[in-house]
């Protein structure tokens, strides 16, 4: 408590200290490696201990269950890397699933319904993004508001009724598996999107801008990053991916209801943070995020197979989330003790 630093560790210093270490150590001791190792341990333990875990049927249901999480986490990760947050994703999933239901009820056909849902998702993202960037409001406050607003529109549109009739070809497609592997066909779409997001976030100037904004908005702006446009684009992507998850939700569960996916935002954020994205912004990587989602999915499925109820899963999710951030700050504390003399010299100069 005697230090003069704020709660938020100095991000610039953190980033440079990272690059002071050899590459192999940076990769080996990263958060992402830790979470992937944990995932492997859990998978191996489940394969050995849980009967019927390592079967194509289980794999299929496991992946189908976490598909909405996977889609949204791809977009939530960059949003959180810039230091923003989007709490409205669960409500957007509910709203777009209702939109798909209404379009299907009106006989418009699923392709049209998908397009309308994506437009709604993009619009929702634009509303979030403009309130954050143009009006200058904190993302947390804005998306708590739109969480209630989008959910309210979803519930208002359908009331207590539900649409449960969808084109058989499309519901079969969403449930279809690739051959005997048990892997859902939808995963092909996910892998394509994952590739696109990885390229965008880790291999383009736009992606470097995302990290730069998370480290320091002012510095990013001075080095030529269009801060407002980047943040707006990320909110729109978040809306689009939520809409995709909403379409999936309606078709996979054969049900468009206003209260679909309630509370999904918390699971997404838990998975993203577990996967090594810093809540302060500025750090994170998609392989960690995907591992974070898979870890939650594998734990839930393995425990479900040994008849542990869902409440234990939520206790474990909560405790894992708390431990993962605490672990991060303990490591940071230990490192800061080791390098303090150098950093103190830099700070006083």
């Amino acid at each position: 408590m005697s230090t003069l630093t704020s709660d938020r560790p100095d991000p610039g210093f953190r980033a440079y200290a990272d690059f002071g270490r050899p590459a192999w150590r940076r990769i080996l001791f990263s958060r992402e490696t830790a979470i992937i190792a944990l995932l492997l341990v859990v998978v191996i333990a489940a394969t050995l201990r849980v009967p019927k875990f390592a079967t194509p049927v289980t794999l299929g249901y496991l992946l189908s269950d976490i598909t909405p999480l996977l889609f949204i986490a791809l977009a939530m990760a960059p949003v959180m890397i810039t230091g923003d947050i989007d709490l409205s994703v669960g409500s957007m999933v509910g709203l777009t699933s209702v939109v798909v239901g209404l379009c299907s009820q009106a006989g418009l056909g699923i392709p049209v319904a998908i397009v309308v849902a994506l437009v709604v998702g993009a619009l929702g993202g634009v509303v979030n993004g403009l309130l954050v960037t143009r009006v200058g409001l904190p993302a947390l406050a804005v998306t708590i508001g739109t969480l209630a607003l989008y959910r309210g529109i979803a519930v208002g549109l359908l009331g207590t009724t539900a649409v449960t009739q969808f084109d058989k070809w499309w519901t079969a497609l969403v449930k279809a598996r690739i051959g005997a592997t048990g892997i859902p066909v939808v995963m092909i779409l996910f892998v394509v999107l994952l590739a696109a997001f990885v390229v965008m976030l880790h291999f383009t100037p736009f992606g470097r801008g995302v990290f730069a904004i998370g480290l320091s908005k002012d510095a990013a702006a001075f080095s030529g990053v269009n801060v407002e446009r980047t943040r707006l684009v990320l909110f729109v992507l978040s809306g689009l991916m939520s809409a995709l998850a909403g379409v999936y939700y309606a078709l996979y569960y054969n049900s468009a209801r206003g209260d679909n996916a309630t509370g999904l935002e918390l699971q997404v954020i838990a998975a993203v943070v577990l996967g090594g994205v810093s809540v302060w912004g500025g750090r994170g990587a998609l392989h960690g995020v995907v591992a974070g989602v898979l870890l939650i999915g594998v734990l839930a499925k393995a425990l479900q197979l040994v008849n542990v109820t869902s409440d234990v899963v939520s206790i474990i999710t909560g405790v894992l989330l708390v431990l993962s951030v605490i672990a991060g700050s303990v490591v940071a504390w230990a490192q800061s003790r080791r390098v303090r003399p150098a950093s103190a010299a830099v700070k006083t100069s």
């Binding site: 408590m1 003069l4 704020s6 709660d7 947050i85 309130l131 009006v135 200058g136 409001l137 904190p138 947390l140 406050a141 804005v142 708590i144 508001g145 739109t146 969480l147 209630a148 607003l149 989008y150 959910r151 309210g152 529109i153 519930v155 208002g156 009331g159 207590t160 206003g258 918390l266 954020i269 838990a270 943070v273 809540v279 302060w280 109820t309 869902s310 409440d311 234990v312 899963v313 939520s314 206790i315 474990i316 999710t317 909560g318 405790v319 894992l320 989330l321 708390v322 951030v325 605490i326 991060g328 700050s329 303990v330």
Partner: protein, 347 residues
């Protein structure tokens, strides 16, 4: 120290005259929210006089929001210190079930003591949040998101599909939920008493002002020598204790407790605080505003069906209200900073 953008606080040096004070009162956020609340009640009562003038209408109007209002008081203290507590709903649920099971296990458990049990238990859960946030130096949002899951999970594991009914609890306890003194519900009186104490503490004591100082600039507060860790810990304990009390109130008011009690309270409490003028970035706002916010939110909820709007649209209205409130805050803050700039350049 902090200066609230919406409700300027009277400094020690220059006490404003009575006229300036009245003008400040007229401009304050609390007055605005109160007028909005009055407007909702009047419009709805004109449509259906029973909304206010029937015995039940009057009672429900005061009674139903008081539980969320208590949670919002604690939440406001946490937000003012630039944190957030997402676990309040789970604390309400867990405490409510603890209250019910205590009465099941010990049928003659003294009623005043159950309040102590609820408040202390809630405070302990809050202390878990507070120590993780304050000592771990990690963002409150993530920690309380984690404990939201963990507390609710413990609640579901403990309760299962079990349910505690009114018949399991003593009448003297349940009567508290509906009793009125001078036609004002007892629970509302309790909520107001807590509001008065916390509002006085936050406004007039050194400790209270430190929450504002830490919330408006944590670094500066620490440089100044304020015990930040302790203040943050206290804020979370206060929020936990308030949620624990709300759990007791819930048990007394509704008499039926399952594993989902308090689900979604975190959003109502944060929404109430934000609508009431507590800035989500900390450092400004009052607990009185948060309580008015809670009353406005829940009164609109019960007014909508009377006004002929299907209650399915309640949440949409709540969302629009929260967005409207934060945009308004922003506009007012910008206008004030512009005015301050002009005043400075004029001198």
């Amino acid at each position: 120290m902090s200066t609230a953008p919406v409700t300027p606080l009277a400094g020690e040096a220059a006490r404003p005259g009575i006229g300036a004070r009245l003008a400040g009162l007229a401009r304050s956020r609390e007055t605005g929210i109160f007028l909005a609340l009055a407007l909702v009640v009047i419009v709805t009562t004109v449509k259906n006089p029973d909304f206010l003038f029937s015995g039940d209408g009057w009672r429900n109007l005061l009674l139903n929001p008081s539980i969320v209002a208590v949670v919002a008081i604690g939440q406001a203290v946490v937000i003012i210190s630039r944190n957030v507590d997402l676990s309040v709903g789970s604390i309400v649920g867990l405490t409510a079930y603890l209250v019910g099971s205590t009465f099941v296990a010990v049928p003659g458990f003294p009623v005043p003591l159950i309040f102590v049990v609820g408040i202390v238990f809630g405070g302990l859960l809050g202390a878990i949040n507070g120590s993780l946030v304050a000592f771990g130096k990690v963002p409150a949002m993530v920690i309380t998101l984690g404990t939201l899951y963990a507390f609710r999970g413990i609640n579901v594991a403990w309760t299962g599909s079990n349910r505690i009914n009114a018949s399991d609890m003593p009448d003297s306890f349940l009567n508290l939920g509906t009793q009125q003194i001078l036609s004002i519900p007892v629970l509302t009186i309790l909520a107001v008493a807590i509001l008065v104490v916390v509002a006085w503490y936050m406004n007039n004591t050194r400790g209270g002002r430190e929450f504002y100082a830490i919330g408006s600039d944590p670094d500066a507060a620490e440089l100044y020598g304020l015990a930040k860790t302790r203040r943050v810990l206290i804020a979370f304990v206060a929020s936990g204790a308030a949620s624990g009390l709300a759990g007791v109130l819930f048990a007394a008011r509704y008499g039926t407790i399952n594993s989902q009690v308090g689900d979604g309270f975190e959003l109502q409490a944060i929404g109430a605080a934000v609508i009431g003028g507590v800035a989500i970035v900390g450092g400004s706002g009052t607990v009185l505003g948060a309580v008015f916010g809670a009353y406005l939110l829940l009164t609109i909820n019960s007014a909508l069906p009377v006004l002929g709007i299907p209650d399915f649209w309640q949440r949409a209205v709540v969302g629009a209200l929260i967005l409207g409130a934060i945009v308004l805050d922003r506009v007012l803050a910008l206008r004030q900073s512009k005015r301050l700039h002009q005043e400075r350049s004029a001198v």
